[in-house]
Symmetry: none
Subunit: 192 residues, 4 copies
């Protein structure tokens, strides 16, 4: 009985997510409208809001999904031997994160800057990202005077910086990739 109900709930939840994914793949994250999602899911609007606190909650989940998929890939990687590989490995995820201004803004908001009350999904992908990168940094030919975790937090800082500058008129001469390369070399390579 409880099982049956859970099944129904799960099914509805999936329908909503599927519908949302469809809208996004056809249009964009920014273009997603709750109205359209429920319409496609064949579900009442009220139902949407009993499954997600608000539209942002759905967005967080969908964006996390993407990021987590990238993280899954990254976890499977062998240790990376130089910064070039590093950047090349991170690039797909970075490209997703900066593919839409809307996405980047939302990530920024919910990564660090949001979750005071409640740790959200995006927040957790940042944790996970630090872990993955840490594991690489622990074994590679990188700086070892500080902990891999601290090193990974720095990578994150530079990543955000590089992504942010992508959206900035003052810094369009250099590509995101090049900038990141410069940053990470300076951060990860032992000074001498």
């Amino acid at each position: 009985m409880t099982k049956t109900l859970q099944k129904r709930t799960l099914a509805t939840h999936s329908k909503l997510l599927e519908a949302a994914r469809a809208v996004i793949s056809e249009k964009s994250f920014e273009a997603l409208r709750v109205e359209e999602v429920v319409l496609r899911a064949g579900v009442a609007k009220g139902t949407f809001f009993s499954h997600f606190t608000d539209k942002d909650a759905l967005m967080e989940q969908l964006i996390s999904e993407h990021i987590n998929a990238y993280l899954n890939d990254l976890e499977l990687r062998k240790a990376l031997n130089d910064v070039e590989d590093f950047v090349e490995a991170l690039l797909p995820m970075i490209n997703f994160m900066t593919s839409e201004r809307y996405i980047f803004d939302l990530i920024l908001r919910y990564s660090g800057a949001a979750a005071i009350e409640k740790v959200g999904d995006i927040s957790m992908t940042f944790e996970r990202h630090v872990k993955v990168v840490s594991s690489w940094l622990a074994v590679g030919p990188f700086r070892d005077d500080i902990s891999p975790k601290l090193l990974a937090e720095g990578v994150q800082a530079f990543l955000v910086q590089a992504m942010a500058l992508k959206f900035c008129a003052l810094h369009n001469s250099e590509s995101l990739e090049d900038r990141l390369l410069t940053y990470l070399k300076a951060w990860l390579t032992p000074t001498l």
Copy 2:
């Protein structure tokens, strides 16, 4: 004639700014509503928009004012000899920037992530900040294998990271100050 008109325009502009500052000091940046600003300034809604492109332009100006005041102080500083001094010097500005979630979000958006079309005031404070910090880094006992400018950009990246984590439930064990200290030591000190 023209003078009189200019005088009136300037007066209106001031009234609007004063009104905005009043609202902010009584409530907060986030709580500012154009409605209330024009009400207090005693002008019509439309007038606001002939003085400021949009609400964000006002916000940028008000926030930049604050930041520039901090930068003025920083520019007067003698060169800083260690990271502790560094952090201590930056702290007032950081505290302002993280005093409201809304402020930090807006800074983030307009620092890097926004100004595709137009370089705004906040963007420029970031430029200025890099310059000031660069000047310190050029003479202090800091890492010198990379340019002071790059070093300063890194400082900025870590600053943002530290501020972002202040707003994150997962990272409340360490203070912003301590975290920043750790970051900057790792970033600015020669590895060996």
Copy 3:
């Protein structure tokens, strides 16, 4: 300038009222939807809510209009000489008031039972009704041991009672008209 603006405001207001009246005459009071009103008026939804506090406010105004029209007619009447004429005179208004359950409920709610904070339009029609009826009662062959105003308030009480019973399953044997006749004879005729 102010005049021009007032004119525009008034025009919009009229458009909204016209649209509402159209909907009502095609459908019913109950079937009126704000959405449809603004659509027909060619006006934004926000505009509706800057002209009327809420849907009920519009309803009150429209219902009052009707009632006031009936009251205008009643004011023109010569003094009424007997209770039969009385009831016959009041009947059109009564029929309107009980033509829709929705209308009667709204009248009830906003006549007496509502307007604690703010005296609404319907409330005022009740006042006016007392005045009109008073003027009749002052000169007709009616009970004169109490003030015409008190007498009129009683008429109102019996009117409401009769209307309410129209909607009641327990009292459908007698017509509204007959019941009212009985009530008013008992109330207005000197006992002897």
Copy 4:
């Protein structure tokens, strides 16, 4: 078997009523939500609706309970000799009925104005009220040119009128009690 089931059913019914009474005494009639009632009763939402046709049915029952208690008291009363006693006797019930706008509205709706399809509990208390009052009027020093029943219906009309005016901003100068006194004197006393 059947007995056990009945016992359970009765128990659930009681739990629901108890829960509802608790909510009302803590908050108000208006604030009662089916959600909260079932939560407190520890049953599912659907269960509520297998015990009560709808929310109003519960409300009617709870309100009738109160009114019937007052009527029980009134029935025990000796005949009343003057209007003052009359009003004084009715006052407790009136106070309950006007203790909440919501209660008065609901009573109004279900007394007369509602029960087209089905004669409800509140409707029946009005019947009962007429009977009780009739019995007083039959023997007291009151007008006797019309039937006690008609007289009692008039009392009811004035009662409602007086209660309605209690909620009206235009008529706050006079107390409900005084107004009722005036009405009933005029209605119940022989003109001469």
